[in-house]
């Protein structure tokens, strides 16, 4: 059996397991309410919660986009370890206050918090809708990136026995099936299995790379010889970009709808804090590893800049597989691990998107099975709409991440500031959100993505905060005034 046939067999086994898990999860459901479908009945314990947080946070972007970026820019992409860890640090600002409110007030989506926080104030409905639209766009973008990565991996692992387009369509259909059947339970359980696969696969690959390249010191010296820029200390703009990227991803990722819904879905607050205590180490075991993999590839393979460099991980894996025997099996394990990471993120996004459209955009609340059905159908419709876009292959995965974050980060004041500052008003938050979004989107459309190394989304967030603080101070919310 050659590599392609082994890959195809492994892929079919993997997909079969996912379908079985989806079916078991479907039979484990308590009822058809949105809480049960979208939050798994708030029953996720420490182990499953930790693994689902892990598998959701580390996606196709991490497995394909990050090594591609490290391959392009070199050692300065060690910043990725910092920004992935920053997410778990920034959660300190939000989670201890949001979680009790979510349990006591029965939140299902991020918009439920915004609605509750600013209820009865002028502009609150428009604010909920605006936050919902930005989050839906970010989720759709995220799903798009995952579909592209899924198609790539399916094509590579099977040696094009499954072409890119079939991979995109077929695997999207699989996700839709088990996600609509089993909801959050299916997603969390498959995430748990996918997280384990991904972790084992990555560490195995790094060990092979270090072993075959004479160790990390040898790799550094080779990289310095071939591409001196890749080992050079970043200049002022590079350092500004480092800080900006930590801010962009650290802040925006905290309000990922799928991350917030896992905060809601935890069995207890204690399970949540224990999961975060473990999650904080995962950037060292995952992001740092994929960064080193991308850097180790610099002396080994030659790829064009841009989209082609996202293929650095698959190219390494195919090289590994050529060793035959154990190398071939290990390469397939990593491929399936990568696919797991991608699918686990896509399924989480899809689940969040369905609930978000129904509750935050269409304003359907309550606990009826009809809302759950509507969420499933709308998520399916969005997925079908995104698939044609995924068949276009002209943006790097890293650029897709940045675009998504620059939108999502404009929702930060509604959550991180809104949960702490009583005087903050709905109208001020809405104006800030609009100012930041218009600023960031306009500059992006004009082709300006950074100023002095700082992302336009981060500058937009600064503007957003200024507007929120100024308008709230001048006008203040009704609650704030009542208290004053």
């Amino acid at each position: 059996m050659n590599f392609s046939e082994m890959g195809l067999a492994a892929l079919l086994v993997y997909v079969g397991v996912l379908l079985v898990v989806g079916e078991i999860a479907s039979r484990s459901r308590r009822d058809l309410s949105p809480k049960d479908h979208f939050l798994g009945g708030r029953e996720l314990g420490v182990f499953v919660l930790f693994l689902t947080l892990y598998a959701t946070a580390y996606s196709g972007n991490s497995l394909l986009g990050y090594p591609g970026k490290a391959y392009r820019v070199g050692f300065s992409f060690v910043m990725a370890t910092g920004f992935m860890m920053a997410i778990i640090v920034v959660f300190h600002v939000l989670v201890p206050r949001l979680r009790p409110a979510a349990v006591q007030r029965g939140y299902v989506t991020p918009g439920d918090f915004v609605r509750d926080r600013f209820s009865g104030e002028p502009g609150s409905r428009a604010l909920v809708a605006s936050v919902g639209i930005l989050m839906a766009l970010a989720l759709a973008n995220f799903i798009l990136a995952q579909l592209k990565a899924m198609g790539d991996v399916a094509s590579l692992v099977t040696g094009d026995l499954i072409p890119y387009s079939w991979g995109v369509v077929g695997l999207a259909a699989m996700i839709l099936f088990y996600e609509t059947r089993g909801g959050m339970r299916a997603v969390a359980w498959t995430d748990a299995a996918q997280g384990i696969l991904m972790g084992v696969g990555l560490v195995t690959l790094l060990v092979w790379l270090l072993d075959g390249s004479g160790g990390i010191e040898q790799i550094t010296l080779e990289v310095a010889r071939i591409r001196p820029d890749a080992v050079r200390v970043p200049d002022a703009a590079g350092c500004a970009n480092w800080f900006s990227t930590i801010a962009l991803l650290g802040l925006a990722s905290v309000i990922y709808p799928q991350a917030i819904q896992r905060v809601y879905a935890a069995k207890t607050g204690r399970a949540l804090s224990q999961s975060f205590a473990w999650m904080t180490f995962m950037p060292l075991a995952t992001t740092l590893v994929v960064t080193l993999i991308g850097i180790a590839a610099i002396p080994r393979v030659e790829l064009a800049a841009g989209v082609a460099s996202d293929g650095v991980m698959p190219v390494l894996l195919r090289e590994w597989a050529q060793d035959g025997g154990l190398g071939q099996a290990a390469a397939i394990l990593v491929f399936i691990g990568a696919l797991s990471a991608i699918m686990s993120t896509a399924d989480s996004c899809l689940l969040s998107l369905g609930s978000l459209i129904v509750r935050d955009l269409l304003g359907q609340r309550g606990e009826s099975a009809r809302q759950t059905r509507m969420g499933k159908m709308l998520a399916a419709a969005v997925l079908l709409a995104i698939i044609p876009l995924a068949l276009e292959r002209d943006l790097t995965l890293w650029r897709l991440i940045e675009l998504k974050m620059e939108l999502l980060i404009q929702c930060v004041p509604a959550f991180l500031l809104g949960i702490h500052w009583t005087r903050q008003s709905a109208m001020a938050t809405l104006l800030g959100l609009l100012a930041g979004t218009i600023f960031a989107v306009s500059l992006t459309l004009l082709g300006v993505t950074k100023w002095g190394g700082i992302h336009v989304g981060v500058i937009g967030l600064g503007l957003n905060f200024l507007v929120v603080v100024a308008v709230s101070t001048l006008t203040g919310s009704s609650t704030g005034r009542a208290r004053a």
């Binding site: 050692f75 060690v78 910043m79 370890t81 910092g82 860890m85 920053a86 778990i88 640090v89 300190h92 989670v95 201890p96 206050r97 979680r99 009790p100 409110a101 006591q104 007030r105 509750d116 926080r117 209820s119 009865g120 160790g215 990390i216 010191e217 790799i219 550094t220 080992v231 050079r232 200390v233 970043p234 200049d235 002022a236 590079g238 350092c239 800080f243 930590i246 207890t268 607050g269 204690r270 949540l272 804090s273 975060f276 205590a277 473990w278 904080t280 180490f281 950037p283 060292l284 740092l288 809104g418 949960i419 702490h420 500052w421 009583t422 903050q424 009704s478 609650t479 009542a482 208290r483």
Partner: protein, 117 residues
């Protein structure tokens, strides 16, 4: 009416729910100190204080500025894990002022409607 943190704490004590806990995100100088140290480590992880034309020096097989960043992030992971271990996320805790007043307002409105009705 707004209640102070002390009143909230007393209220929880009297309800017997969380005799061992303080305010979930406040009241732990150790936790605040850990978060402060994390901020300092983030500041030093970025090599803004280094010349960008210095020759390559290795530390643990990596360029020295990369090794410093990795060490900083390793320490951040340890400190953040300790900080989460010190964080009480109490599902039954009183809601923050930003939300508690909403329920107070809602209850007051409901009472007013009842009175009018």
């Amino acid at each position: 009416m707004h209640r102070t943190g002390v009143e909230c704490y007393t209220s929880r004590m009297s309800h017997g729910r969380r005799g061992r806990s303080k305010e979930p995100e406040r009241g732990s100088p150790l936790r605040a100190g850990l978060l402060g140290l994390i901020a300092v480590l983030y500041l030093f992880s970025v090599p803004w204080y280094r010349a960008d034309d210095q020759p390559l020096k290795l530390l643990f097989g990596l360029p020295d500025w990369v090794a410093v960043a990795v060490i900083c992030y390793g320490l951040v992971a340890i400190l953040n894990s300790l900080a989460w271990a010190r964080t009480v996320v109490d599902d039954a805790a009183p809601l923050p002022d930003t939300l508690r007043n909403r329920s107070d307002d809602a209850e007051a409105s409901a009472r007013a409607r009842e009175a009018q009705g």
